[in-house]
């Protein structure tokens, strides 16, 4: 029984990580109709921000270093949020109302982000800055006459291409210097040391140890969920966001700047991904491929929980987390050794982490046969138009 309880706790913490990761995705999907396949890579950025923060805090001495993780969470939120806002302003904005297209374009973004983390170096950063600045300058200072020409769009595309090539040449030129061209992170995994107060046990209940990191993640996700709920229901921006999602046109007519609302919504969703990424660093080493491991589970949470519903997201992620930890670890078999053979064989078959995914999927497909819109469907006339 103790085993089951500790597996339950484990499941809750797996579920909490899923919840952290899925909340941001659910906001972006449910409120804006954007399928963000780069969400996992935004998590990755959050993880790397944590890593950088740790390295920055390390020389500051033992006492302050212990607090680095709290700062990392804040940095992860804001830096990833800003990346999200940039993404929304440049790319996502072109694709509203075409969810399948957002899916493909954000996949492209995710590839770029993965490779960026792998190979970013000082020389590369300089090259990118050079290219972007040149590109903008070219657009900015193009003669007005040229701008009206019918071939201007092609010309401006060409200007961007030339700037990119110049940026690339700059990178190549700078790569002569070992110092400048050394990748900051490289393709290998990075490790984050959890501060001491997170390591070890936080006491015990009824003889069961409460591992600090797991409890911390559960608390963090609860706290963040509370923050999201507060932000959406009580703050002014939350009101604007809800208003825009429920009736975009009228909100616009009432004076709500809908494009800013879009940016902020996407920024918040991305920021949450950053925090999730920061939290994941506590569980083990992370690398550029971190995103892929989480993205599909996050989407499963959304499909199961119903779109645009925080309660559904919570229940679905906890359910998936618990199924994974109880079945996937084989804990049931150890706890109840006397299960008769046919069912025992079935449980054994699914008793690996990989196979528990299979089980979860069968469960979800089965569930969707009865409730195609998820546990908590959106009600109202406008659902299927």
């Amino acid at each position: 029984m103790e085993l089951i309880f500790s597996q339950l706790l484990d499941g809750l913490s797996i579920g909490s990580v899923l919840l952290l990761a899925a909340t941001g995705l659910a906001i972006v999907f449910g409120l804006m109709g954007v399928i963000n396949l780069a969400h996992g890579e935004l998590m990755m950025i959050g993880a790397y921000v944590t890593y950088v923060t740790q390295n920055l805090f390390r020389p500051m001495g033992e006492g302050i270093f212990e607090l680095y993780f709290l700062f990392a969470l804040v940095f992860a939120f804001f830096i990833t949020g800003i990346v999200g806002v940039i993404l929304e302003r440049t790319l996502i904005r072109q694709l509203y109302g075409r969810p399948l297209e957002t899916l493909l374009a954000t996949w492209g973004v995710s590839l770029v982000l993965i490779q960026f983390i792998r190979s970013v170096s000082t020389s590369m950063t300089i090259g990118i800055v050079v290219a972007v600045v040149l590109g903008f300058l070219a657009q900015r200072f193009a003669p007005k006459k040229l701008k009206q020409a019918s071939f201007y769009p092609y010309l401006s595309g060409l200007a961007w291409l030339v700037s990119a090539v110049i940026g690339f040449l700059a990178i190549t030129a700078l790569s002569g210097s070992k110092f400048l061209s050394k990748p900051w992170f490289g393709p290998r995994n990075i490790d984050v040391t959890a501060p001491k107060w997170l390591q070890g046990s936080w006491g015990s209940i009824a003889g069961i140890e409460l591992p600090g990191i797991r409890i911390f993640i559960i608390l963090l996700s609860a706290l963040l969920l509370a923050f999201v709920a507060w932000f959406l229901t009580k703050s002014v921006w939350g009101l604007r966001i809800r208003s825009v999602t429920q009736n975009r046109q009228m909100s616009n007519c009432l004076g709500i700047p809908t494009d800013n609302v879009d940016s902020i919504t996407f920024g918040i969703g991305s920021g949450l991904a950053g925090v999730a990424g920061a939290a994941i660093t506590l569980l083990g080493s992370v690398g550029p491929n971190l995103g892929a491991a989480y993205i599909v589970s996050c989407f499963m949470v959304i499909v199961l929980g119903g779109v645009g519903n925080l309660v559904g997201t919570v229940i679905a992620s906890m359910m998936l987390g618990i199924i994974q930890s109880i079945i996937g670890s084989g804990a049931i078999l150890i706890a109840f050794p006397e299960i008769p053979n046919p069912s025992r064989a079935v449980i054994e078959f699914f008793a690996t982490t990989s196979m528990s995914y299979v089980l979860i999927f069968i469960f979800i497909i089965g569930f969707l046969q009865f409730k195609p819109t998820g546990m908590f469907p959106q009600k109202g006339r406008s659902v299927e138009s």
Partner: protein, 245 residues
């Protein structure tokens, strides 16, 4: 048919000239000219589907004209987003009322203040005037907007628009599908607002009694203005042609 004329007043808050508006391929508004004098209520009449709502949507910026101009408060409105027009003082009460359904009445009212300088972050206090005009709203402050009845929603929509202190209020069929008693409330409220604040109103309406409260009318048919004049001259023929079944 009555000769089309323009209202005599000198100062206009809004002047639309030669507007042509399309929905995809279908030509909805054809060369519409219309003027709204400052501080008066003007009425736009016509049967369902002739383009009245399209006209209001073009003014607020939900639709863009293919040709023609809209001059508001001395400035041209060209491809400005609706929220900018709202902040410039155009209030809009749409035909479906468009109450934001899953937020409370209080929040709906707060959103009305978004078009004031500083937005609703700086303007949190709901002007008691709206509760004086529509007492029912004060009672239902904490209900969800979508749970109100049609008439209550209409009052909320007007109150919401008023909280933005507009210079020009666009009302799209405020009495449609509403009990007569509430219609009178709404009529009284609109008249009082015009008297007290001096705003201009463009009313799209079918309800004859309400139409007669305005000073000037424009009648629309198949997307064009076909008749206009002071409401006092609104003859039975015109009523028969544009308002009845």
């Amino acid at each position: 048919m009555v000769q089309a004329t323009a209202p005599a007043s000198t100062k206009t808050i809004l002047r639309a000239s030669g507007l042509n508006v399309y929905y995809g391929e279908s030509h909805i508004l054809r060369n519409v000219d219309l003027q709204i004098p400052e501080g008066e209520m003007i009425c736009l009449i016509g049967r369902n589907g002739v383009g009245k709502t399209t006209f209001l949507k073009t003014i607020i910026g939900l639709l863009e004209q293919r040709s023609g101009n809209i001059e508001y408060d001395g400035k041209q409105l060209t491809s400005q987003a609706p929220y900018k027009r709202a902040r410039a003082g155009i209030g809009y009460v749409s035909q479906g009322r468009d109450i934001i359904p899953r937020i409370t009445v209080r929040e709906n009212l707060q959103i009305g203040m978004e078009s004031l300088p500083g937005g609703m972050g700086k303007n949190r206090h709901i002007d008691p005037l709206v509760f004086e005009l529509f007492p029912i709203l004060e009672q239902f402050l904490n209900r969800r907007g979508g749970d109100l009845s049609g008439g209550q929603q209409q009052q909320l929509a007007i109150a919401r628009a008023l909280l933005g202190k507009p210079k020009l209020l666009l009302l799209d069929e405020p009495t449609e599908g509403i009990q007569p008693s509430i219609i009178l409330d709404i009529e009284r409220a609109v008249k009082r607002i015009i008297q007290e604040t001096g705003i201009s109103v463009l009313l799209v309406e079918q309800h004859l009694h309400f139409v007669k409260q305005s000073s000037f009318y424009y009648a629309m048919q198949r997307g064009g203005i076909v008749s206009s004049g002071p409401t006092s001259q609104l003859s039975d023929d015109i009523i028969e042609e544009f308002l009845t079944v």
